[in-house]
């Protein structure tokens, strides 16, 4: 009798844990972690400085001009771009995985990232023949990426559309094929390109080097469109992850709702890639990590995935900025733009093993 009562009490205890407050705490911890990382990002570098000096530089009272340049002109825009791009890429993946009901869905696997990369590389190629100045390229390359991403997303949707609509499985399969096709075109362009090869490779892998406020200014309008759009489609996404019949029962038109959610995801991913290039794994890994922390309800999953994406990309770029190939004594590497490793290489090198671990632990 006592034993039974004890067991009941125990099971009640574990069930009564109010998940809402727990999840709110998780999101708060993630936000704090991001803030700490951002501060570290501003502190560390060739001219490392204390938090006090960083704050002084931020509020416009730097002790040395160098501090202002390092914080304001080099590190802050790059940190903000890393955070914003990571957040957009990862939340885009969260929408795709939910609405397509497939854990493999991500901007990279359904063709949006390859499309955006092709757009950027295409512009770089066209520019290599003409007398384009660097300023024009700074503007045209992100625009090419956004156009490429939107085009690829639209193409996948149109190709999967049959009769009543584009069903999730067909969307994924079409996306994988389109992704492979667009990547093949990019490879071909890289092969025939005489110049700009280094810049192109950095686009393929994903890099934040040489990014400035100007790039952020091109990304912000996209974010300003994508974020409200993303927030507005969260409830529809939630209904859709319960199946088309349930979504219809709740008063949605499943086909329209799915198109709207995917459109938001495509804009988010295109905006991210337009500045950082083809970052690997983040769009797939971010939402998976977030799901283990806060579950599948998009009202929590999307913010958590965005925070995790921002954290991972800021941390990876901090590594990329500080780590130098010169540290590897056996390698004598000298690329045109120095011995820094692009951030995308870190997300791939760290992301792939971590992803395998996550899969083995959870599935």
């Amino acid at each position: 009798m006592t034993a039974v009562r004890v067991r009941l009490a125990l099971s009640d205890d574990s069930a009564a844990a109010p998940s809402a407050t727990r999840h709110r705490r998780t999101v708060a911890v993630l936000a704090l972690l991001l803030a700490v990382l951002m501060l570290l990002y501003l502190m560390l570098g060739p001219a490392s400085m204390s938090p006090r000096l960083v704050v002084k530089a931020l509020i416009g009272q730097p002790e040395e001009t160098l501090h202002r340049i390092a914080v304001w002109e080099v590190r802050l825009p790059r940190a903000l771009m890393a955070a914003l791009s990571g957040a957009m890429l990862s939340s885009s993946g969260a929408f795709m995985q939910s609405v397509l009901r497939n854990p493999l869905a991500a901007p990279a696997t359904v063709g949006v990232t390859p499309g955006a990369v092709l757009g950027a590389v295409g512009i770089l190629m066209l520019a290599s023949g003409s007398e384009g100045t660097l300023n024009q390229l700074n503007f045209l390359v992100p625009m090419g990426a956004i156009a490429g991403g939107l085009f690829a997303g639209g193409l996948v949707y149109v190709l999967s559309y049959r009769r009543a609509g584009a069903d999730p499985l067909r969307l994924i399969l079409t996306g994988v094929i389109v992704a492979a096709f667009l990547s093949a075109i990019t490879s071909f362009l890289v092969l025939i390109s005489g110049s700009h090869t280094d810049a192109i490779i950095r686009w393929l892998v994903g890099s934040l080097s040489t990014r400035s406020w100007e790039h952020l200014m091109y990304q912000l309008p996209v974010a300003a469109v994508a974020v409200p759009l993303a927030a507005a489609v969260i409830p529809a996404g939630n209904a859709l992850q319960l199946g088309d019949a349930t979504a219809a029962n709740l008063g949605l038109r499943p086909e329209l709702a799915r198109a709207a959610v995917l459109a938001a995801a495509v804009v988010l991913a295109s905006g991210a890639v337009s500045v950082v290039g083809g970052i690997a794994f983040l769009g797939m890994m971010g939402p998976h990590l977030a799901r283990t922390l806060v579950g599948s309800d998009l009202r929590r999953l999307v913010p958590a995935a965005a925070l995790i994406g921002a954290i991972v990309l800021v941390a990876a770029d901090l590594l990329a900025r500080t780590f130098s190939l010169d540290w590897l004594p056996l390698l004598e590497v000298a690329t045109a733009s120095g011995s820094r490793v692009p951030v995308g290489a870190f997300t791939a090198l760290v992301g792939a093993p971590f992803f395998i671990y996550l899969m083995r632990a959870r599935v």
Partner: protein, 285 residues
């Protein structure tokens, strides 16, 4: 009339001369059915008879090929889908559950038709959600992930989602499939409770004839997309119907406890003779 008021003149759901089916395949033709306020109806029939298609057409999950389905006297096709979802809840046969979605989160989706997409962004546990969870006895599982529940609990969670919609009409497509006998009874008792205590009009597709005759006031037997019998269980469940509709020889007796008819099928009818019977039927009509 913007707000929904149950009217006495019109049955809650009412199909007029409906042809149901999919593109290029008519499943059922010229069907007219009417369901009274507060009734409990079971659609029965063999596999492929079209009973699920008819239910989905009533539920506007499939558009009728011709004719119309009316909800409180209004054509369902002319009503905004969310407005329909405030009056009618549908539990489909197949659903998807993402990993790590709690029962409470699942049930709260049922509020969508009432609060709309923007207010759904706020996470709150309103009274309708609590009521639905309480009625389906899921309080102790509310924060558990749906994919860790047993089949019976899972089905109760889906019913709770439909209840959170707070509709006067509930349509269920084979709600007892994949459940063991105890959980089947449990679910049918829950549906009875909703019907008796809360006045919910129920239309359900059931496979088990004995369950149908015990838990419904009205049976509609469907074969080949046509209604071949419609009435209270005692009138519908007969050896003739079982032969004609299901192709089995069966004895029908009375359940000593409830008085409902009970059937015990004991042999299938030879496929050839069954088919020829259909041919004669078709010629006659």
């Amino acid at each position: 009339m913007t707000e929904h008021e149950p009217s006495i003149d019109h049955p809650p759901v009412h199909a007029v001369d409906v042809s149901a089916g999919y593109r290029g395949r008519v499943v059922s033709q010229a069907l007219s059915l009417s369901f009274e306020q507060g009734s409990r109806t079971a659609l029965v029939g063999p596999n492929g008879s079209g009973k699920s298609t008819i239910l989905k057409t009533l539920a506007r999950l499939i558009t009728p090929l011709s004719g119309s389905v009316c909800l409180d006297g209004q054509d369902i096709a002319s009503l905004p889908s969310r407005e329909v979802a405030r009056r009618m809840a549908v539990l489909a046969q197949l659903h998807e559950v993402p990993p790590d979605l709690t029962v409470r989160e699942l049930v709260s989706q049922g509020r969508f038709p009432h609060v709309g997409p923007l207010k759904m962004l706020r996470l709150r546990d309103d009274e309708a959600v609590q009521w639905a969870i309480r009625l389906t006895r899921l309080e102790h599982l509310a924060d558990r992930s749906v994919d860790t529940l047993s089949g019976g609990e899972c089905q109760r969670a889906w019913i709770a989602l439909a209840l959170a919609q707070q509709t006067g009409l509930l349509l269920l497509d084979e709600p007892t499939t994949f459940l063991d006998v105890r959980h089947q009874l449990d679910l049918l008792e829950l549906i009875t409770l909703l019907n008796r205590e809360h006045g919910v009009t129920v239309v359900m597709v059931l496979h088990d004839l004995n369950h149908a005759s015990r838990y419904a006031d009205r049976l509609i037997a469907i074969a080949d997309g046509t209604v071949i019998a419609d009435g209270p269980p005692v009138e519908v469940v007969t050896p003739e119907l079982l032969r004609e509709c299901f192709g089995v020889e069966a004895s029908v007796m009375q359940d000593p406890r409830t008085g409902a008819p009970m059937c015990i099928p004991h042999a299938t009818i030879d496929a050839a003779s069954h088919e020829s019977e259909w041919v004669t039927d078709a010629v006659e009509t």
